[in-house]
Structures are given as structure tokens and as C-alpha cells.
């Protein structure tokens, strides 16, 4: 049996062991690596940093507190404690003494009392004996009587003693009680001090909890799952879902994982803190804060002041949301838990990594910084990148697109208004309520020949801004991609000819197709008076009449649109009207614009013939001779032919086209080219033009532009460019930046592109400033296809819809030119020296006036003249019933009052009327309010008049009047109505001057008259001191003197069309100009 020979191993086991050892070690190390990797993820870093800062801050505060306390407070407290303890000791000694004293006195008192009572008893007994003795005439009765008298004296004495003793005893008692009280008090103080110290201690403990210590188990990597300090925080919003075409996912916003303090007040940046401080202070001063919250607000103010003065300035991601009052805050309309973050900001909700969260840089610098700091990269597949910071308000559109003005969204509201005013919707279809059924922004051109000449039109088209620096008409021709410096010389030369040809063609077409009604000349007028009138009747609310403005830094310079409020750009700049328009036409336009065309935006100011004539005369003086200097050169025939050909060959072969052109006189070519050019440039988007009634808008639809993928935008080769105003702009590869660039320099994308003339970009240049472009960009990128749950859409209830419809009309008819609506407007203010001449602020209009009255007044402003002294006129807008109704409903809804409530029927109580009457006289209301039937003669001075109160009953709402009397200055800041019942600064209570007045001799008679209506003087004084009640009495008096019916609105009677109904067939427009003309004919042969 031989032993089995050993089988050799295939590997050296020792080597294997080594390998094993090494690899296992490597594995172990890597496990550690994994943990570390997880522990050092971006968001954890942010959280730790935040915790650190927070810890620091709390500690500092505590330190400061302790310093304050320790240094002065605590020392003072200590001192006070010590002295109070000493005092307590002293008092206790005194107390002891007084108590002994008291006990003695008690004893003495007892004794004295007993003596007295006994003596009295004896006295009574003696009296009896004395009497009996006296009756029986027994022996020695005199003696008894003497005894009695002596006793009596003794009793008297004892009584005095007793009183003294009692007094001193009570005094002793008082002393003791005083001492006790004092001691208790001091004890109280000590307790308070102890409490302070206690609080500090607890806070200290808090701090310790905040500072991340690795010794604590819950801070150790991997083990911190027990109770992690660093953890992902998220809000799940399901009705603000993410819409992935086929399914709706709830949002899971994790932004606050890094933005830790977003909903915590007190982490603002310095400037934020300062801004908020200012706002809050104002609200406090204006009594806008309910008394219940005042304390909190004061505290918040304190906090803000500290933040503003702190040496640390926080930056993102550690900041509080700057608008806690509107967003994120639990009391705000958009609380964090309901709305999350990405609903508005967009971005990638679930991401917890800066580079992946969809942050979008707002500038090249920021982009650079981010790349450096966070390794930021554009996320090309992210469909909802965040809005850059200058476009945050774009987010409002998503839910608020149903509102004419977004509350607290000033920029977006402005942008929306600009889209309406500049008529973006004319060329770009926008399927949004806000931009539906709006009037075309430009004037009707179907009768252009009646008001101006082809020469003017040609020059105007070539360069509108040369004629009116502030015009809204964009420049279509001679733009950078056609004749700009980047274009090679030969091509530029050719393009110059082509552009000129197109201009001539368009003008020819317009004048050819224009109607030619003949307007009779108006009466002669006086320009002086005209100028005055223009300022008085309110023309300047909608029109600007100046070309230059005074600029603080650059002195006098050409005016820009943004030198004036949007409302004043509503009408055209009156400059140059004399050069442009035919006086007869102007006269009749002024008389009644609707005669020229029905949809004219200009309302009827009810000008008399003389007034109209004067204004016409003045307008005719506004000339720009330099504009109509040289004669208009004829179009380059070659260019006309060439361009016409490009159109013809789309429907026929080139030979046919040539044949056709040879047979076509220049004029026909022009007309054809004109028609096609109007198609090309989409003039009909803004103007009514014969033959383009149902043409489709030519621009890209913008309804969901904000959701368009960035790959669908052509950035050309542009990175940096110079805008029309000479500013250097930079293009970021983001949609907002693209849109902004497109608005600033619409044709910049053609730079360095090889394109044929007809293929070049054709969006006109509106010469938007940076601010304008930004506002518009916000609107455009705000229009996304993101959707939210129905319930989240703002203003969707039927009543809200009515309200918004009305508001839309307000915006459409430019009411804000003269009135304040939704907190802004009164553009006309700049043109009036005397604020007393301003048209009324309509902020409270809804709550103020009765619906019937408003309806009447809107339909026909002549039904009532409340303020005869106002020179500006409420124009007649020829509202239809439904329009007027919508506006009325808006105001009613705005004032939070029922639309259909007629107060006129209410009958006040005669007693109250009488009282009101007296107060009315005492406050001398009649001094300004005329026709109020009172003994004070009214002043003849119009400028110091107030509305006639006899109108109040049909006009004002019953519950409104007392409100107004109480706080006019709060409802309409700056009103001329004096505050008769000023509020007390502290309590906010109304105070009444009447009590004072009734105390003064000059109101003796009133006093008598009043007393008649009250039970007692006290009652009277009580009522008179109660401002709200007084104001109700006043109201009742006013009510009693009011008229109860008013004239109904008459059907609007505009001037009847004055022109001959059958106008003579016009000779061709082009005869009059150098276009076409004889050589045009010859061109045919």
C-alpha cells in the first residue's frame, strides 16, 4: 500500500493569500470610499454650511444677548437684586418692628375700646338712676346727676382716645401692608431676572443641538440614519402636476434641501431686509395692519433691522424668499406646502444637484461663475429650465393668464399691456383670453388717402422714427440684414433699390384701394386757444405732443417711448400732425372719430365746433418741414420688376412671368408687388387694409412659445451684437435670451447668413429698450403648455370672469390714462400743474357708486357733472350696453359689493337727519360742497369746490358715505377732502373734534340744537365723541337732501357723417405722386 503522491497545486497558495489580502483591503477601502462619496454629495455640503452659519448666528445673538445682559443688564440686575435683597431685608426688619408696633396698638386699642364700652354702660346705668332719683325726688339726686355728667365727660374722652388709637393702628396696618407689597414687588423683579437667565440657558442648549458634532452618533456618516441631521427635504404637489404629454406626474420639489431658509423669515440679504423694512413701516404708518397683528409686525421689523445691520450678508442658497408676503410664506396666497417651488420657477423638481436642477443663468457672468463654482452645464433635454432671475414673473402667466392685471405682478402686467399696445398678437397668433378680440393696434388704412399724401406715407414707411421719435410703428425697411454694415457693398446697393421699390409698391396699393370721401373744411380756429384746450380737455392723457425731453444727465435729447407712461403712448405723438394730415380731416376726426372708422380707439370728447376748430388750428402748427424736404425719387424700375417676378414665378414659369411683366405697366407691377409685399410684411396684422379682411397672421404662433424646445430656435452664428441703441448685447444659449435678442434686434440671426432677398428675416424693429424687451420676453416665455389643476387657475369663477372682462375693457380703452385703476394710472398727472384738477381716482369706485348710476354715466357722461371745475372731460366712448355692463360689473366686483343694489330707496330716520344736519353745519361741509342747503354761503371759487352732495343719493352707495367721511385720506391718498376724524397714532381709534367744538363758545347755538335730540349732555358728548356714529348721522343728513332720480343716458349722438355720401371717383392716387405717373404708362409699351 504505497502512499498517494501529493497532487501539486496549480497556484502558489501564498501568492493567492497575498492577492486575497490585498484585494480584500482594496474592497474595504472602497466601501469607505462609497460612504464618503455619499456623505460629500453637493446638497449635504450646502446643508452643513447652512447649519454652521445658523449655529454661528444663534451663538452670536446669544453672545450679544449675554453680553448685553452680563455687562449692563446682569450687573444692573445683580445690583438691583442685591439692593432689592438688602431692601427686602430692611423692609423685613421694618416689617417686624411695625408688626410689634401694630400688636401694641392692637392691645391699646382693645383696652381703650373696652374702657369706652364699659364707661358707656355705666353711663346708661347712671342715667337711669339719675332719672329715677330725679323723679322720686329722693335724697341726694343732685349727686347722682353730677355723677352722671362726670361719667358722660369721661365717656367722651375715652371715645376720643379710642379714635386716636384706631387711627394709629390702621396706620400701622397700612405700613405693614405697604412693606409686604414692596417685598412682593421686589420678589417679582428677581423672578423676572431669573427667567431671563433661564431663557438664555435654553437657547444655548438649542445652539448646541445645531452645531454639527461628529461625536454625536446622529452625525456620524452611515450611522446617521438613526436620526439624520442632513436629509433630503421635499414637498409633494399633486395638483400642480408635471405634464408629460401622456401622463401627469406629481411634483416632488426638493429645492428646500439646499434652500434651507427659503420659508424662514430673518435670512434675507441686506438689501432685501432694507426693502421689506421700508414696506412694513409704511403699512404700519398707514394703518393697513389689523391691530391684532401689530405686535408681530413690530417684532418682524426688529428682526429685519437686525438682518439689515448684521455684518454677515447671506447669499443663495441660504436666503429667505424675498416675497414671503406673496409666496412660500404660510400666510401668503402661495404657501410652500401647496405650491412648492418648481410650479413657478420651473427646473427639475426632483434634482438635488445644482448642475441638474435646471438653474438657468441670467447673464454671461453668472453662467461663467456657475461653471466655475458648481460645474454647471446646460441641460439640453430638460424641457422646463428655470426662468432666469429677470424673468421670474413669467411664471405668473401659467395660472393668471385669465387676469388682465396680475396682482403683485407689476412687470408681467406691464408686459401684457405692452403686447396689447404694440399689437404683437396682430402677427403672432396667441390663443389666450387676454389677447382675444382686441382692436387692431394700428389705424384703419382703408381711407388713408383722405387724411394724408403718398409722399408722406413713403417717407413714413422708410423711417417712421424720423417723423415721430416715440411712434409705436416699427421700422420694416433698411434694417441690418438688408442694408446693414455687414452686407457686402454691391448687395447693399441692390437691396436699397429693392426696399425702395417695396415701399413705393405698398403705398401705391394702399392709396389705390383707399376710399376718397371728401371732408368739408371746418371753421377757422385760433391755435392759441387750441393749445390751451389740448392741455385742458385731457388730450395729453393719451397723446404726447413733444419730440424732446429734459434728461437730468444728458440734457435735452430726443424723446423715447419709455420717457412717458404706457398710457400716453396709446395715442400717436401729435408732433408733425400739421405736416401729415389734411386739416379738414383732422377737424372731423376730432368732432367724432367714429365717423372716420367705427373701431376708432379715440373717444368722442364732445368738442364744440369752435373747440374742434381751435385744436385743429393748433395741430396744423405742429409741422416738420424738414421731413417733407426733398422730392420722393421714383422707384427703381429694375428692382420693381425683379421683385414682382419673384412672386410671379411661384405660380408660373419664368418665361411666362417675363412675358407677363413685359405686358404690365409699372403701375400695375407696383400694385401687384404692393399687395404681395403687404402679405410679406403682414401690415394687415395691425391695420385694416382693403382686400386683406380675412388674411391669416404671418408670424409664429406664440401660444406655447415658452415650452418650445431650445433645439427649435435658430441662434444663427450670433454671440455678441450691437443693438439699435448702440448697447453691446450678449446671447446666451437659452430660450429667454433668444427671445430677448429677437426683440432687441429682430433680424440679427441673419448675420453672416447666406440668404436670398426674399428669404431674409422680416420681423420689423420696434426699437425696444432693454426694459421693454425684458418685460415682453417675460410674457412670451411665460406662455407655456404647462397645465395645472382647474382649481388652481386664477379668476376662473363666473363672477371673476365678468370682472376680468370689464378690466380688459378698462385696459383696452386706456381708462388709466386719466384714472387710477388697480392701483396705477393717471398718466395725465404729468401734464397738470394743479393736482386738484386730476380726474378722480377709481380705486374705490366700485364700493363708492351705485351700479345704475355708473352704467348711466358710462353710456353718457353728460347725465351728471359732479365736478364742474374739472377742465378734463370724461369722453363719450359710445359703449354698447354689454360693454358698459361689463365695466360696471368689474367695479362692483372690485369694490366687493353686489352689482344690483339700489340704495336710493332707503329712508333715514328724521332724528338722525336732524343731528346730522347740525354736525354738517359744525364741520362747515357746505363751505366746499355746494347746493347742500345750509346757512353758510358757498364760495364762488370753483377750484376749491367739492361735488354737489345733492347728487349723492342717486350716485353713492349708502354704506360708502360714512366710510369716506371717516378716512378719506386712507381711501384716496392726497384727496382734497380733509380728514375730520383723524386716527389716534397709537390705538388707531378715530378721534372727534366735535366734543371740543361743543366746548367752544362759537358753537353755542349748535349745542342747543343738538341737546334737543339727546336725553342728556353726557349722551350728546358720548355720541359726538364716537366718530363712526357721527359719520352715520352725517350720511343720513346728506341722504335726506339728495335728489332721488337722475336723467337717463341718451342714445349717443355722435356727429353725423358730414361728407358727401357719393364721393366722386378719385383719380388714381399715383398721379399725384412721382410714383408711376407718365413714365409708368410708357413703361407699359
Amino acid at each position: 500500500m504505497k502512499p498517494q503522491e501529493p497532487i501539486p497545486h496549480n497556484y502558489r497558495i501564498s501568492t493567492l493569500n497575498k492577492i486575497f489580502a490585498l484585494s480584500s483591503l482594496a474592497l474595504l477601502a472602497l466601501v469607505g470610499g462609497m460612504v464618503l462619496y455619499d456623505y460629500t454629495r453637493g446638497w449635504k455640503g450646502f446643508q452643513q454650511e447652512f447649519l454652521r452659519v445658523q449655529g454661528e448666528r444663534i451663538e452670536e445673538e446669544l453672545e450679544a444677548a449675554r453680553q448685553a445682559t452680563d455687562e449692563e443688564e446682569l450687573r444692573r440686575i445683580d445690583a438691583r437684586m442685591r439692593e432689592s435683597e438688602a431692601e427686602i431685608a430692611r423692609e423685613r426688619v421694618a416689617l417686624a418692628r411695625t408688626e410689634d408696633d401694630l400688636r401694641d396698638w392692637e392691645g391699646t386699642h382693645y383696652r381703650a375700646d373696652q374702657d369706652f364700652r364699659f364707661a358707656k354702660a355705666v353711663l346708661d346705668a347712671l342715667r337711669y338712676e339719675a332719672e329715677v332719683a330725679a323723679l322720686q325726688k329722693s335724697s341726694g339726686w343732685e349727686g347722682r346727676q353730677r355723677e352722671f355728667r362726670e361719667q358722660n365727660v369721661k365717656v367722651e374722652r375715652l371715645k376720643l382716645v379710642l379714635e386716636d388709637v384706631t387711627a394709629s393702628r390702621d396706620a400701622a396696618m397700612g405700613r405693614r401692608d405697604g412693606l409686604l407689597a414692596r417685598i412682593a414687588e421686589v420678589e417679582q423683579v428677581r423672578k423676572g431676572m431669573l427667567a431671563d437667565i433661564e431663557r438664555l440657558e435654553t437657547q444655548l442648549r438649542l445652539v448646541d443641538a445645531w452645531t454639527p458634532e461628529f461625536l454625536l452618533l446622529n452625525k456620524v456618516p452611515l450611522l446617521d440614519f438613526v436620526a439624520p441631521t442632513l436629509k433630503i427635504e421635499q414637498v409633494v404637489v399633486s395638483d400642480m402636476f408635471i405634464d408629460l404629454n401622456y401622463l401627469r406626474m406629481p411634483r416632488v420639489d426638493r429645492c428646500m434641501t439646499c434652500h434651507q431658509a427659503i420659508d424662514r423669515p430673518g435670512w434675507e440679504s441686506k438689501e432685501e431686509a432694507e426693502r421689506l423694512t421700508g414696506e412694513l413701516e409704511n403699512r404700519l404708518e398707514n394703518f393697513e395692519i389689523p391691530s391684532g397683528q401689530i405686535a408681530d409686525v413690530r417684532a418682524r421689523l426688529e428682526q429685519l433691522r437686525e438682518t439689515a445691520s448684521a455684518n454677515r450678508n447671506l447669499n443663495n442658497p441660504y436666503r429667505t424668499h424675498p416675497r414671503l408676503d406673496v409666496f412660500v410664506g404660510s400666510a401668503s396666497p402661495h404657501p410652500l406646502l401647496e405650491y412648492g417651488c418648481t410650479v413657478c420657477h420651473r427646473g427639475l423638481d426632483r434634482a438635488t444637484d445644482f448642475a441638474r436642477a435646471g438653474h438657468t443663468p441670467s447673464s454671461a457672468d453668472q453662467e461663467h461663475a456657475w461653471r466655475e463654482k458648481y460645474g454647471w452645464k446646460p441641460q439640453q433635454f430638460l424641457e422646463t429650465p428655470m426662468f432666469p432671475r429677470q424673468y421670474f414673473e413669467a411664471a405668473c402667466v401659467k395660472c393668471h393668464s385669465g387676469q388682465a392685471f396680475v396682482p403683485a405682478g407689476e412687470e408681467i402686467s406691464l408686459g401684457t399691456q405692452m403686447v396689447e399696445l404694440y399689437g404683437c398678437f396682430g402677427c403672432h397668433k396667441i390663443a389666450a383670453w387676454r389677447f382675444q378680440d382686441l382692436r387692431k393696434p394700428g389705424p384703419d388704412l382703408r381711407a388713408i388717402a383722405e387724411k394724408t399724401t403718398p409722399e408722406w406715407a413713403i417717407r413714413w414707411l422708410a423711417d417712421p422714427r424720423a417723423f415721430r421719435a416715440t411712434t409705436r410703428m416699427p421700422s420694416f425697411f433698411y434694417q441690418r440684414n438688408v442694408t446693414g454694415p455687414g452686407i457686402p457693398a454691391d448687395e447693399r446697393a441692390a437691396n436699397l433699390g429693392r426696399q425702395n421699390a417695396e415701399i413705393h409698391a405698398i403705398v401705391s396699393y394702399l392709396f389705390e384701394s383707399s376710399s376718397r370721401r371728401v371732408w368739408p373744411d371746418g371753421p377757422p380756429g385760433d391755435p392759441e386757444r387750441g393749445a390751451a384746450l389740448v392741455e385742458q380737455v385731457g388730450c395729453l392723457g393719451c397723446h404726447v405732443a413733444q419730440e424732446t425731453v429734459e434728461d437730468p444727465e444728458s440734457g435735452v435729447r430726443t424723446a423715447r417711448r419709455d420717457d412717458f407712461p404706457l398710457e400716453r403712448n396709446y395715442g400717436f405723438n401729435l408732433v408733425g400732425t400739421g405736416t401729415k394730415s389734411d386739416p379738414a380731416w383732422v377737424y372731423h376726426w376730432l368732432k367724432n372719430p367714429q365717423n372716420y372708422y367705427a373701431a376708432a380707439p379715440m373717444p368722442d370728447l364732445r368738442l364744440t365746433d369752435a373747440e374742434a376748430a381751435d385744436i385743429t388750428a393748433w395741430l396744423m402748427t405742429l409741422r416738420k418741414p424738414e421731413f417733407t424736404g426733398a422730392a420722393v425719387p421714383p422707384p427703381d424700375r429694375g428692382a420693381v420688376r425683379e421683385l414682382t417676378r419673384t412672386y410671379l414665378i411661384t405660380s408660373m414659369t419664368e418665361r411666362e412671368a417675363d412675358a407677363r411683366l413685359d405686358a404690365m405697366p409699372l403701375r400695375e407691377q407696383l400694385l401687384l408687388l404692393g399687395q404681395r409685399s403687404i402679405e410679406k410684411y403682414g401690415c394687415f396684422g395691425c391695420h385694416d387694409i382693403e382686400g386683406f379682411e380675412d388674411a391669416k397672421p404671418i408670424g409664429t404662433e406664440l401660444t406655447t412659445e415658452g415650452s418650445k424646445h431650445i433645439h427649435l430656435f435658430d441662434f444663427g452664428f450670433v454671440h455678441d451684437y450691437e443693438a439699435h441703441d448702440g448697447k453691446e448685447e450678449h446671447v446666451l444659449h437659452t430660450v429667454p435670451s433668444w427671445v430677448y435678442t429677437k426683440l432687441r434686434a429682430p433680424r440679427v440671426w441673419d448675420d453672416e447668413r447666406e440668404k436670398t432677398y426674399q428669404d431674409k428675416l422680416k420681423m420689423p424693429n420696434f426699437h425696444f429698450t432693454e426694459a421693454e424687451a425684458e418685460a415682453l420676453t417675460a410674457v412670451v416665455i411665460g406662455m407655456t403648455k404647462d397645465r395645472v389643476a382647474e382649481a388652481r387657475i386664477a379668476a376662473r369663477s363666473s363672477s371673476d370672469r365678468l370682472r376680468e372682462e370689464g378690466l380688459k375693457l378698462v385696459s383696452q380703452n386706456n381708462c388709466r390714462a386719466c384714472h387710477v385703476v388697480e392701483g396705477s394710472g393717471q398718466a395725465i398727472e404729468a401734464t397738470l400743474e394743479d393736482p386738484a384738477m386730476l380726474p378722480p381716482d377709481l380705486g374705490p369706485e366700485g364700493a363708492r357708486v351705485q351700479s345704475d348710476w355708473l352704467f348711466n354715466f358710462l353710456k353718457d357722461p353728460t347725465v351728471m357733472t359732479m365736478r364742474p371745475w374739472l377742465s378734463a372731460r370724461m369722453p363719450t366712448f359710445h359703449f354698447t350696453d354689454s360693454e358698459a355692463d361689463r365695466i360696471v360689473r368689474y367695479f362692483a366686483a372690485d369694490g366687493g359689493v353686489p352689482t344690483f343694489a339700489t340704495d336710493a330707496g332707503i329712508e333715514p330716520h328724521p332724528e338722525s337727519v336732524a343731528v346730522g344736519g347740525v354736525v354738517f353745519d359744525m364741520l362747515r361741509c357746505a363751505q366746499c360742497h355746494p347746493g347742500s342747503g345750509s346757512d353758510i354761503p358757498t364760495t364762488t371759487d370753483l377750484a376749491s369746490l367739492a361735488p354737489n352732495l345733492q347728487y349723492s343719493r342717486v350716485r353713492l352707495r349708502h354704506e360708502w358715505i360714512p366710510e369716506w367721511i371717516l378716512r378719506p385720506n386712507e381711501i384716496v391718498p392726497g384727496t382734497r377732502m380733509p380728514t375730520n376724524f383723524p386716527r389716534d397714532a397709537e390705538t388707531g381709534e378715530y378721534t372727534s373734534p366735535l366734543t371740543l367744538a361743543l366746548g367752544s363758545p362759537q358753537f353755542g347755538s349748535h349745542r342747543q340744537r343738538l341737546l334737543g335730540h339727546f336725553g342728556s349732555e353726557e349722551e350728546m358728548m358720548q355720541v359726538m365723541a364716537d366718530a363712526p356714529r357721527v359719520s352715520r348721522h352725517l350720511r343720513n343728513y346728506i341722504w335726506s337732501i339728495g335728489m332721488t332720480t337722475m336723467r337717463q343716458a341718451l342714445p349717443s349722438t355722435g356727429e353725423p357723417p358730414p361728407f358727401l355720401t357719393e364721393p366722386p371717383r378719385p383719380q388714381p392716387a399715383l398721379q399725384s405722386t412721382s410714383i408711376g405717373g407718365p413714365e409708368a404708362r410708357s413703361a407699359g409699351q
Partner: protein
């Protein structure tokens, strides 16, 4: 005995008055003084310098303002509108826009140190703005930030005091009671604050609000005086309702009495 009467009258509104004090902004303090009760609380703001406490080696600026050329004719004010006003005056009252003496001495010019940066003494006495004969007295005046302004209605008619400041808080109070005094405070510097009466639209007053007491208003002699000015170099600005502002540099040494003069051009 008259004092007793005043005391009782003061008692009635005492409560709101106390509450109101120190409110800073809107104060609703009523006091009442009968016709002859001169401003016993209020100092005459015509010469506010006395509000500035005496400083060691402080300088004094005295100056004259005159008007070149013939002043425009001051239009007469139609006071007939309100007999209460009309009755007070025998002669027709003229507009106070330009008040110039025969030698062109220009009154109602507010002269103040524009760039005083030093510590400002707290205002002591309140300033008085009186409404008498439907005119503001004084027409042009100055107050210090935080200085109480007592606005008194000495007319038996309704006045409303409507301040139209730019930076301060606007107010507009009615004063139906003769002798009624409302107290107000401006808490931000502002030159000038226009104060008007909406009832009598000819009534205008201008008030300069400054953080220091170094200002003065020219009287009918065109003379003004700024006392107790600490030595130093300052910019002096003169403001006139119609002719705008003028400035000039000025250096004053200790205890110096400096003379300056401003000249405005009519037309």
C-alpha cells in the same frame, strides 16, 4: 378765572392728546386757545434761530435778499368767496407770491445751511403755523425734523390743512373750530413742503424741514439771520417760491458775524 376756563377746555381733549404724543406720524392732538390766547406754547418760527441753543464761539450769519428789477404786480385775492375771511381785512389782500419792498427787499426767502453734517441740537419749543384772516402766518418758515408743529385755526371758518410733501407723509386735516390747534411732525428732511388749504385755494404756505436749526426766513426788509452757527465752511442756499434757489459758499470763524446777500432777478 380765564385760566380756569382754558384748563377746563383743555381737559376735554386731554385724553386723545396724551395718547397722541410721541406718535411721530399722524398725531391727533387738539388743544384750544381762545382768540386772545397767543401762542404761549409756540415760538415764533419767523426767527427759528432761537431754537438753536447757544454754542461756544458760535458764529452768526446775517444777510439781505433783494430783487433786481420791478417785481410783478401782486394780484388781489378774491376773498369775497368767504365772508368770514373777507370781514377780517379792510384793505384788499394781495398775493404773497412775491413780496418785495420799494428797494427790492425780497421777503419770504428761506435761507438755510445745506450741508451741515454736525450734531444738531434737538428742537425745544414747538413751531406755530397760524391761519389768520384766511392766510398762513408765516407764509414761509422752517422747522426741524421731529419738531412739533402746532397748526392753529384763528378764523371763525373752516380751514383744512393739506400738506403736499414729497418724502414726508402727506396729511390733510379739517379744522372747523376757531382756535383749534392740531399738532404735526415731519420726520424726514425736505425743502420745501407745500401746505395748502383746499377750502381757500389762495392759501399757501411753504415749510422747510431740516435736520438742524440753522435756517432763517427773510422779513419784509429782506433781512434774515442764522444764529449760533458752529464755525466752519458751509453751502448756504436761498429758496424762493417764484424765483427758485441760489447757493453760495460761506466760511465762518469763531464768534464771527458774517454778512451775506442774495440777489434774485425778476423776470
Amino acid at each position: 378765572m380765564i385760566w380756569k376756563r382754558i384748563a377746563t377746555l383743555l381737559l376735554i381733549p386731554a385724553l386723545p392728546a396724551m395718547l397722541a404724543c410721541g406718535g411721530g406720524g399722524e398725531t391727533a392732538a387738539y388743544t384750544y386757545e381762545d382768540e386772545d390766547g397767543q401762542a404761549r406754547a409756540a415760538s415764533d418760527t419767523g426767527a427759528p434761530a432761537q431754537a438753536a441753543p447757544a454754542v461756544a464761539d458760535a458764529a452768526t450769519v446775517i444777510g439781505a435778499v433783494r430783487l433786481n428789477g420791478t417785481p410783478p404786480p401782486a394780484p388781489a385775492i378774491q376773498m369775497a368767496a368767504d365772508p368770514a375771511c373777507h370781514a377780517v381785512h379792510q384793505t384788499p389782500v394781495r398775493s404773497e407770491e412775491v413780496v418785495a419792498g420799494p428797494g427790492g427787499e425780497l421777503a419770504n426767502v428761506f435761507v438755510y445751511v445745506k450741508d451741515y453734517a454736525g450734531a444738531a441740537p434737538r428742537p425745544t419749543a414747538p413751531a406755530l403755523l397760524d391761519q389768520k384772516g384766511c392766510q398762513y402766518i408765516p407764509h414761509v418758515s422752517g422747522v426741524q425734523v421731529g419738531q412739533t408743529i402746532q397748526i392753529r385755526n384763528s378764523d371763525p371758518t373752516l380751514h383744512n390743512v393739506h400738506a403736499l410733501p414729497k418724502v414726508n407723509r402727506e396729511f390733510n386735516i379739517g379744522q372747523p373750530v376757531q382756535g383749534m390747534v392740531s399738532e404735526k411732525v415731519f420726520d424726514r428732511p425736505e425743502v420745501m413742503v407745500r401746505i395748502k388749504c383746499d377750502v381757500h385755494n389762495w392759501m399757501n404756505s411753504y415749510m422747510g424741514v431740516l435736520p438742524h436749526p440753522y435756517f432763517g426766513t427773510s422779513d419784509t426788509q429782506g433781512a434774515f439771520r442764522i444764529a449760533n452757527l458752529p464755525p466752519g465752511t458751509y453751502t448756504l442756499e436761498a429758496w424762493h417760491e417764484k424765483y427758485g434757489t441760489q447757493t453760495q459758499q460761506l466760511t465762518v470763524g469763531p464768534n464771527e458775524q458774517k454778512e451775506v446777500s442774495f440777489t434774485f432777478d425778476a423776470s
